[in-house]
């Protein structure tokens, strides 16, 4: 079931869970992955049974899988979303220095982050809505700037149908030219770089009954057929 729907939509948009399920398909077996708060954190629930991922959390944790329900479990084994993962034998604990050595040194294979805006050249804004005036960076800038593969899992528009994929980000930036793939409730879009700072958005998949023209209408920068 979709979470957002608008009058001119050709068909329902996908749900947050569907976005997570589609993003999870891009996580290869045995990869080291950091999931952001929100839709990205749901990816853990939708891995195919033959895929095993080593999740890393900024808190100083590597190798976790299942989470206890909210508020249950051991508070001394926590992920960055504030959940308590199950203590399985392969876990590794480390402090914040080591945790950010991993992230800033480029040792995490893939990060899935939420987005407020993504631009046509792969810039990401995801930490502050200007009208609020205060926001939280957490590990997002470190992850977006230094992880080789950055996937953004977000709704295609705001709740008022304002495009979140734009020519130029107007919200405060998280990192420039960092995004590799955008997974939304209507499309999967690859950010194809032709230099360090220039990119084209290539449409790879659409939600059922959505065409490129429909997606272009709610996207504020040009997208291309693959």
């Amino acid at each position: 079931m979709s979470d957002l729907s608008f009058e001119n939509d050709p068909a329902p948009r996908l749900s947050r869970e569907d976005i997570a399920r589609r993003a999870a398909k891009f996580l290869p077996n045995n990869s080291i992955v950091n999931l952001g708060i929100g839709i990205p954190s749901l990816c853990a629930n939708y891995l195919p049974t033959d895929i095993d991922i080593y999740y890393q959390a900024e808190t100083g944790l590597l190798g976790f899988k299942e989470l206890y329900p909210k508020g249950k479990g051991d508070p001394n084994i926590m992920d960055a979303s504030g959940n308590f993962p199950v203590n399985i034998p392969r876990l590794v604990f480390f402090d914040s220095i080591e945790s950010f050595n991993m992230i800033r040194g480029g040792h995490i294979d893939i990060t899935v982050l939420g987005g407020l805006q993504v631009s046509g050249n792969g810039d990401l804004s995801n930490w502050m809505i200007p009208s609020r005036g205060i926001g939280s960076i957490g590990g997002a800038m470190d992850l977006a700037e230094n992880t080789p593969n950055v996937i953004i899992a977000m709704e295609h528009t705001t709740t008022k149908n304002i495009p979140k994929i734009v020519e130029k980000c107007t919200y405060p930036l998280t990192s420039k030219n960092c995004v590799n793939l955008i997974v939304t409730d209507v499309a999967i879009i690859e950010v194809k770089y032709n230099s360090d700072i220039n990119a084209k958005l290539i449409l790879r998949e659409t939600a059922p009954h959505w065409k490129i023209e429909d997606i272009q209408k709610i996207t504020n920068t040009e997208i291309f057929e693959k």
Binding site: K72, P75, M78, G82, I97, S136, M141, D142, T174
Partner: protein, 243 residues
Amino acid sequence: MKNEKLYNSFLDSIKDIKNGSSIMIGGFGGSGGQPTRLMLALRDLGPKNLTIISNVAGISTTTGYGWPENITPIDQGIFFEAGQVKKIICSFPVPGTTKPISEIEKSWKTGNCEVEIIPQGTLVEKIRCAGSGIPAFYTSTGVGTIVSQNKEHRIFNGRKYILEKALPADFSLIRANKSDTFGNLEYIGTSRAFNPAMATASKITIAEVNEIVELGEIDPEKIGTPGVYVNRIVKRKPGDPYP
């Protein structure tokens, strides 16, 4: 011989924190690794115009972040509620949701305190450097964002970096599972977080622990913070309900 590192009360261990002091508070955010008893003592002692340095700060009371369901959360918001804070330096001062509004956001909105938001990896590296005799370092995190404003830029191997400076403080309040009488600390799980870095970065480091044991009783392979960094140790009462 009297061991001058051992304190019997949390309040006694922080009595020299004064108006205007800068204080690091360890942990990640959430209950594990947070020096909750030292924080409550600091609130009760009541110094004002403090600079607080933390990672995730003040979001647990309104969201339950990192706390077990059956305990009422305590977070950095207690110092804002008591009007003790001039400035907070942290990576994550507000949750995504705006309602209910947290004590930090309330205080920031009314202009009662300054909030400096720093990327988490940069924050821990600034603290590590302060404890390691390194005055500044270059990082790519924050390049092209508001974090890079008014900072020196330099290119290494074709990539742009910004210069970030070390961040020391007057006091560090940290949390570990066990200490020996010299202050060698053993941590559990993800309760390490910012504690080991903060232990090195202040003039006075005070550790809140569950248990104090004799020298040699902690496996040397398991010591996460060597006692050379720890000035004071306070033990919790048995059966303390806070994680």
